[in-house]
Amino acid sequence: MSANGKPQTIEKLVDAFGGAVLHTGEALGEWSAVVALDSIHAALQFLASDSELAYEHLSDLTAVDLSQLNRAEPGLDGARYAVVYHLYSPQNETRLRVKTPVTDENPTAPTVSDIWAAAGWAEREVYDMFGIAFENHPDLRRILMPDNFTSHPLRKDYPTKGLGERAAFNFETSASNLVGKSDSTDRGEDAIESETMVLNIGPQHPATHGTLHLEVELDGERIVRATPHLGYLHTGFEKLAEAMHWNQWIVVTDRMNYLSPLSNNFGYVLAVEKLIGVEIPKRAQYIRVALAELARIADYMVWLGTHALDIGAFTAFLYAFQQREKAYEIFEACAGARLTISYTRVGGLFYDAPESFEPMMRAFVKEFTDEALPEIEKLLSRNRIWIDRTQGVGVISAEEAVSYGLTGPCLRGSGVRRDLRKTEPYSSYEEFEFDVPVGASGDTYDRYLVRLEELRQSCRIITQALDNMPDGPVNVEDHKLRFADKSHVYKTPDHTHPYDPTQPYGSIEGLIHHFKVNMDGHGVPVPAGEAYCATESPNGELGFYIVSDGSGTPYRVRVRPPSFYNYQSLPRLLEGHMMSDVVTALGSLNVIAGELDR
């Protein structure tokens, strides 16, 4: 931070580009800069390559349709879209948001995929959703919507319910379109006499665990080329957010990474709370942390089980699922649901954790660390076949991993010590003691070891959270944010809720609070503004970029899905490998289709 309060980044950017920097500003602790379209590529190149700034990491690339925003964004006058780049500098541990205006008449922007490999798919998604073409992009095709789709769904003039595509859907033509998705690389004129075989793995395939579609070109058993096709599970979550209340969309987040729904709930409400600027009670923070780590364990158990299953070890799969089942029982005790738990609310939690929470958690952690994990490890870690199958498979170097935007265990497996819980602690993570494991060679075996060690660290965090669990409420005492207790709203107190003896028959205030938080046109009062909030979800950096216009619904919610960026590196991981390694590399990335396609 320099003398006039502006960070070094902004100063250097303004120094270098002068008039091209249309606006700089700070809000909620995040600095952003608006750079004119014709200098954006040079500016980003500068930010990425400058040795003092070193924004090596493109966290996210997205766009916002400004056409219905009720305020003028400084520096973006006359533009219909803003392309938004979220950058992160591991060296300085700083973030920067860069925006550039794009007009409706000429919706084009220069590609930055030459600076960060991560931008490749992100730009394709922006092209798909907003119709902004990226010049010189090596492979600009639709990514989530089918190739024959004509609209751009995240534009504000596209209705949430669609333009009748669903009614006009024809399975025959759509299916043939999907199967025959053209690929980018030129196969050359000798395609007919080719020695290779194109094999479609998925979208329905035992190893894709969902609806991934990987088109591989094989020379015998050897992979010549692998092209992932996405979008089979695309459900328009980001579009849905624009028509839902702040709390309503929590339910949607459950469906993203459905293996650890709490992490998504958690990340989303944190972003909203950041936008509101509210600090939630310590007890709620601790319960959130404990459950987020439990969600991480449950997620890794599914990853470990299916990963082992794909490599052929069936028994480890069932051992892992047994543990996941026990974790789900704890979620069930807390939230009443097992998979789609929607446990968090803006301003706290839905309920306080039950009395059985602590003993259940302690019993789980004890059994998990003492028995289950060593047992699973005994089956795999020193198994000759397991080592032969995973070591040296799907290797990605640290530089490449950063360039591809890998986060989470996939990045740490390559030896980059980066964990948002350490670098940008949220929800009191700074009060916990835990280590961040990193791998050495960046292969599948290292990613496996990193995840195993993280399981132990998660158990450590849970134990600390339970030991130091504060008492008190789990919601902020602000009735504009929190849900009123049911006993304040209804006449009959029911026994499943904390019963407040002062309000035995409900109260008019309770009813009003309930109405205000829930009803259309009221809702949680989120001020106008924007915020990017990233959390360390099991798969990596789960970011929520939220633009609010101060009404009862978000103006734009962008999810930075870790799976999306991780999956992008798959063709790179598979270079020169064999057919059997497809499932190994895929499993080690732990791609969750719900999060990938949203």
């Binding site: 070890a313 076949i385 990193v438």
Partner: protein
């Protein structure tokens, strides 16, 4: 002098005539039957009985697999159909029988329909040469062992037929993997069998068992260390031959869906399924017969126990080991599979053969006895050296697995 077949046929004719009379069927038709027809009828009857009995084996094995895997995985396995889930395989079979007979429209229909029978017939035919007890073997022929090697190789033909006729890339992939794998592993397997033949000079399975009948020390497996290693190579190659984990690449579910039988359903799929389990049983039975004394009791004082108990006991033990491997180990990759065969099994087999040959020669020329007078017998020397060799091999196998790097 009459040909023994004539005598047998006359006996059968007489028995049949007696039965006709007793049962009041009227007429004396059996007497008029020509010799060939009688033999044919007898063979058919024997075959029907044998196939029925043998077809029961996979049904038992499938249940066993499900129960074994369940207990390995902290589950109960099937419990609903019949007591302790005993009838679940039958229920599965009935379900498969009632399923629609699907033949993919783009497949080569004739080949597609034929393939399961080829696999099924090839795996069941081998049963003929296995002696289940002392007195009986369906085909007591001097070339029994050779017949086993020859016929079991036909299975791969059926698999390629299935993979090719399905006209599906996954099926073709599975079939090609199966072909490469089965043909490759046939070699170490054949070499292991060859060692036995070198030691005994016979291919008749019944004679081989009789040679081992003295007790556990007479089992070929424990005759000398080369045969001990040979037994292991035989067993592991056999596991690869019948496509079971860790060598189940031709039907690796997570990679190529179900391999060569991806497109099969209903009873045709059941044929593949039954053949697979029949195969697992048969290779185990051959292994038990060749290396572990077949129906012979391990200790002379136990010889009162019927031979079939020992035979089934030893075979089931080996089948259990196969299941144990399957539910513990991951799957190897195709290049690792091939390097295991060509770079490890094959050279070791050659060394084995050489060693076994030297030992056999020493015995035959009675040089061994002379040497024995001076030092120790050749066998004793080799048994003494054996643990060191094993330790060396074990060290090689564990090499590279020690460092569990704890990243932190």
């Amino acid at each position: 002098m009459k040909h023994p077949i004539e005598t047998a046929a006359e006996q059968i004719r007489a028995t049949a005539a007696e039965a006709t009379e007793t049962l009041n069927l009227g007429g004396a038709w059996p007497a008029g039957l020509p010799l060939e027809t009688v033999i044919l009828l007898t063979l058919v009857v024997i075959a029907v009985i044998a196939v029925t009995v043998v077809a029961g084996i996979p049904i038992v094995l499938v249940l066993m697999e499900r129960k074994v895997s369940a207990y390995f995985q902290n589950r109960l396995g099937p419990t609903r159909v019949g007591p302790w889930g005993l009838l679940v395989t039958l229920a599965d079979g009935i379900k498969l029988l009632f399923k629609e007979d699907m033949v993919p429209p783009s497949s080569d229909r004739k080949l597609f329909r034929l393939a399961p029978y080829v696999v099924f017939a090839a795996s069941f035919a081998v049963v003929a040469v296995i002696p289940p007890f002392q007195s009986t073997v369906i085909g007591n022929m001097d070339l029994g062992l050779f017949l086993y090697l020859a016929i079991s190789s036909l299975i791969v033909l059926g698999i390629i037929m299935a993979g090719w006729a399905s006209n599906s890339k996954y099926s073709l992939f599975g079939a090609l993997r199966a072909a490469a794998q089965i043909v490759s592993y046939e070699i170490p397997l054949g070499l292991a069998v060859l060692m036995i033949v070198m030691a005994t000079g016979t291919l008749n399975m019944q004679h081989l068992v009789m040679d081992q009948a003295d007790g556990i020390h007479a089992w070929y497996m424990f005759r000398h260390p080369f045969l001990f290693i040979g037994a292991f190579i035989y067993f592991l190659s056999a596991v690869a031959e019948v496509n079971r984990t860790p060598f189940d690449l031709p039907e690796a579910e997570s990679e190529i869906v179900a391999g060569y039988h991806t497109e099969y359903s209903g009873i045709r799929f059941a044929y593949f399924f039954l053949a697979e389990y029949a195969n697992a049983f048969i290779v185990s039975a051959i292994c038990a017969t060749l290396f572990m004394g077949g129906w012979a009791a391990p200790f002379p004082f136990l010889s009162g126990v019927p031979g079939v108990v020992w035979f089934l006991g030893k075979t089931m033990f080996l089948v259990f080991i196969m299941m144990w491997l399957r539910w513990t180990l991951p799957r190897v990759r195709v290049d690792q599979l091939m390097s295991l065969c060509w770079k490890y099994f094959l050279p070791i087999s050659f060394v084995n053969i050489l060693g076994a040959g030297v030992l056999a020669l020493l015995e035959r020329e009675e040089i061994g006895a002379q040497l024995g007078g001076m030092f120790l017998s050749a066998e004793a020397v080799s048994w003494i050296a054996f643990p060191f060799v094993l330790a060396l091999l074990g060290w090689f196998a564990r090499w590279g697995t020690e460092p569990v790097r704890r990243p932190s």
